[in-house]
């Protein structure tokens, strides 16, 4: 039993789940914005990165860890709200490339400002739990307290989002505003606020992700922290379907596991290539995602 738990396959699965949880969270934050406002947010990695610098930067003033996490989340809410109000709102109803280009510009600016203020030298973030794998009979099992924390966090965040959407009055209004903004307004839903809220939620989910990423891969917090992760997150979201929070997290986790096996058994330089192939093939099979219910196009 011990040898099974420490076997290559199990440790690949566990490692894949950890990476996949991160991909899933990025995908989830993309889905939140997409559902609310039909914008694919290319600054989805950069906005939380900025919030994380603002919040976790307080660690150097000896603020307690969890307080810094709280400040990061508040900063994320504020950045999300400001972005939606100032940058995104004027773009509703414009050709679909306009928001794409604006968000790319925003991404460039945020990363440049972060580097100008905090420099490109990585900052070390403490992991709240040990990042060292548990062992069984002297062999690592491919799972550390911190990676378990990552997986649990991803599931909790997804659960919270699903609960919010499915079972609360607020969630009902959020969904309605995304699906039928005009009808929702006629029923008294403050759609503008709901869209803003969608961006706030998404940025906060992003900030959770950014903090995990910055503590996890031994690369520390840098302005380009989320660049690579964003691409994998997008692939997960596109494969899962941009409309489905559960689909996004699920496909993120599956993607993580597949790529872990590719890295281990094939070559770790092939990870990106395989991810790209998965994306292209799945988009050819189901252009609106493998895990969405309907494939109808909105006109």
């Amino acid at each position: 039993m011990d040898s099974f738990l420490t076997s290559r396959i199990v440790s690949d699965i566990l490692g894949g789940l950890t990476n996949g949880a991160i991909y899933g969270l990025v995908a989830l934050s993309l889905v939140l914005v997409w559902r609310a406002t039909r914008v694919l947010n290319f600054a989805q990695g950069a906005m939380p990165m900025f919030a994380t610098y603002l919040g976790m930067g307080l660690l150097s003033y000896h603020w307690p860890y969890w307080v810094c996490v709280g400040v990061s989340l508040v900063a994320a809410f504020a950045i999300g709200a400001l972005t939606e109000r100032v940058l995104v709102r004027p773009l509703y109803g414009k050709p679909e490339i306009n928001p794409i280009v604006v968000m790319v510009g925003y991404l460039i600016i945020l990363e440049a400002f972060a580097a100008a203020i905090w420099s490109t030298t990585p900052r070390s973030l403490p992991a709240p739990f040990s990042p060292i794998d548990w062992q069984l009979g002297g062999q690592p099992v491919g799972l550390s307290p911190f990676s378990l924390f990552e997986i649990v966090t991803a599931l909790v965040v997804m659960g919270a989002i699903v609960t919010l959407f499915r079972f609360t009055r607020l969630g009902l209004q959020l969904r309605a505003s995304a699906l039928a903004p005009e009808v929702s307004r006629l029923l008294g839903v403050r759609v503008g606020r709901m869209l803003t809220l969608g961006w706030m939620l998404s940025t906060a989910v992003g900030a959770v992700t950014a903090i995990l990423v910055a503590s996890n891969f031994f690369t520390g917090l840098t302005p380009q922290l989320m660049d690579g992760i964003f691409a994998f997150g997008f692939i997960a979201a596109a494969v899962g379907g941009l409309d489905s929070p559960v689909g996004a997290v699920t496909s993120g986790i599956v993607l993580g596991v597949i790529l872990q096996f590719v890295g281990d058994y094939l070559n770790s330089n092939a990870i990106i290539l395989v991810a790209l192939v998965i994306l292209i093939v799945s988009l050819m099979v189901r252009p609106s995602g493998l895990l969405t219910r309907s494939a109808t196009r909105r006109v």
Partner: protein
């Protein structure tokens, strides 16, 4: 219908004819330009009071952390020399262009590639490029600089590409080549970790392949060899390194040799930490600077690099070398680029590196005398041995060897900020199958005019 078709064909034909005329005219005009450009100043980049030199370095992007200090440290040397009246009455203007190491990444948007940035240096013009960073990046501009007759000095890389005098007479390396370094480290591995399994991880370019070649030439045959790609490293935030480390653990390697840049060193050490895998680490000087490597681990309370073996061709900060004191003085005199640097700040490998080639350049310039040209400068350099220089052993160039340094000592990462020498023996060897020998004649102190 038929008529309009013919009309179209005729139009296209006339367009092509015009283009042909144009090509003719265009190419013959080239001569006119050449003639007008021939009247350039005698020594580009050199006036009676100033020498302009330049470099392309990563000031932004993935490779910028740590490496962005190298050229600034060289510049600190130039500023220090300038404050003492310059070299032969000329001050040194050092122009740095950011090329982002040519790496992809959102953070480098709008930053042009190395070639374009080098062109900007040519436009100034510069007398030479000095200390430009990177193997792939500098490989890209070798031909361009040669074509324009611009010396390419002290390239910040240990690739053997810089030692090709017949093809590139103006190209000079500075640090010991990767094979030399790994051969000397191989000797250490053989004597200290005899009969242990060695695994090798290298960068997927000259850096990794040259390093492995030296290791093998030195008698160490790794049981597993892997090469990572920098682009994958960037895209996966270092996660792409983990499978290699896992494989090393599975192969029961007790010694792991890393030919990695600091970001990849971090990823490798981090992955091993996660797996509770504690081999003896042997890390190339390129990726072993304690301060840079320790940064992401700071909050963990553990620095997995402590105890790792590395190589250096410069005095360790804890040594008694007079150069160390001088380096502190030089850096403290430049608060613009090194704000808050005090006598207790750690002197990292990147700063030492920059000071090292900075001093080499001012010494060469001093030796070249008041009146020099590019040709006379290069001729002098190829017949020079600098014995009063920060490197452990003298810096020597010959008409057939442009590599530069070829000796160094084994050192060990003593803490998150410093290295200590394992022994004070300085070794040398060649890039081929020559033996590793002990250097008898070491560099001496600081020349009086630099003190």
């Amino acid at each position: 219908m038929a008529i309009s078709k013919w009309r179209r064909v005729a139009t296209a034909g006339s367009a092509l004819l015009l283009c042909a005329t144009l090509a003719t005219a265009a190419t013959s005009i080239g001569d006119a330009g050449a003639a007008s450009k021939a009247r350039a100043p005698k020594v580009p980049g050199v006036t009676a009071r100033q020498v302009t030199i330049g470099a392309t370095v990563p000031l932004t992007g993935i490779a910028s952390s740590g490496y962005n200090q190298v050229a600034k440290a060289a510049n600190a040397v130039f500023k220090y020399v300038d404050s003492k009246g310059g070299v032969n009455g000329r001050k040194i203007r050092y122009v740095l262009e950011d090329d982002c190491y040519g790496t992809p990444g959102f953070g480098c948007t709008g930053v042009p590639n190395t070639v374009t940035q080098t062109q900007k240096l040519l436009a100034l013009p510069v007398f030479a490029t000095v200390g430009s960073l990177g193997t792939p990046t500098q490989d890209l501009v070798r031909t361009l600089l040669k074509k324009n007759g611009v010396p390419q000095l002290f390239v910040n890389s240990g690739s053997s590409d810089w030692n090709d005098p017949s093809q590139y007479p103006g190209l000079f390396g500075w640090q010991p080549s990767y094979p030399v370094e790994s051969k000397i480290l191989a000797k250490y591995i053989l004597s200290t970790y005899a009969n242990q399994n060695v695994c090798f991880l290298g960068q997927g370019d000259d850096f990794g392949t040259n390093g492995l070649a030296g290791l093998v030439a030195g008698g160490v045959s790794p049981v597993v060899t892997d090469f990572y790609s920098t682009t994958s490293l960037v895209a996966t935030n270092g996660a792409s390194i983990a499978p290699y480390i896992q494989a090393f653990q599975n192969a029961k390697c007790t010694v792991v040799y890393l030919d990695t840049i600091p970001g990849a060193t971090d990823a490798a050490l981090g992955a091993a930490l996660q797996l509770s895998y504690t081999p003896h680490w042997v890390i190339s000087s390129v990726g072993s600077d304690p301060q840079t490597v320790a940064a992401p681990f700071k909050s963990l309370g553990v620095d997995p690099e402590v105890g790792a073996i590395s190589f250096t061709y410069l005095p360790t900060p804890t040594s008694a070398s007079p150069w160390i004191k001088w380096m502190y003085k030089v850096i403290q005199a430049d608060p613009t680029d090194f704000p808050g640097f005090t006598s207790t700040s750690p002197l990292n490998g990147n700063i030492e590196y920059g000071i090292g080639f900075g001093v080499a350049f001012v010494e060469a310039l001093k030796a070249a005398g008041k009146n020099f040209t590019r040709a006379s400068f290069l001729k002098l350099l190829t017949h020079s041995t600098f014995t009063q220089t920060p490197s452990l052993a003298p810096l020597q160039y010959t008409p057939v060897n442009h590599q530069g340094l070829n000796a160094g000592q084994i050192d060990e990462v003593a803490s998150a900020t410093s290295m200590k020498a394992v022994s004070n023996t300085v070794y040398t060897t060649n890039s081929k199958n020559g033996p590793v020998t002990v250097v008898k004649r070491l560099s001496s102190g600081i020349p009086a005019w630099l003190r």
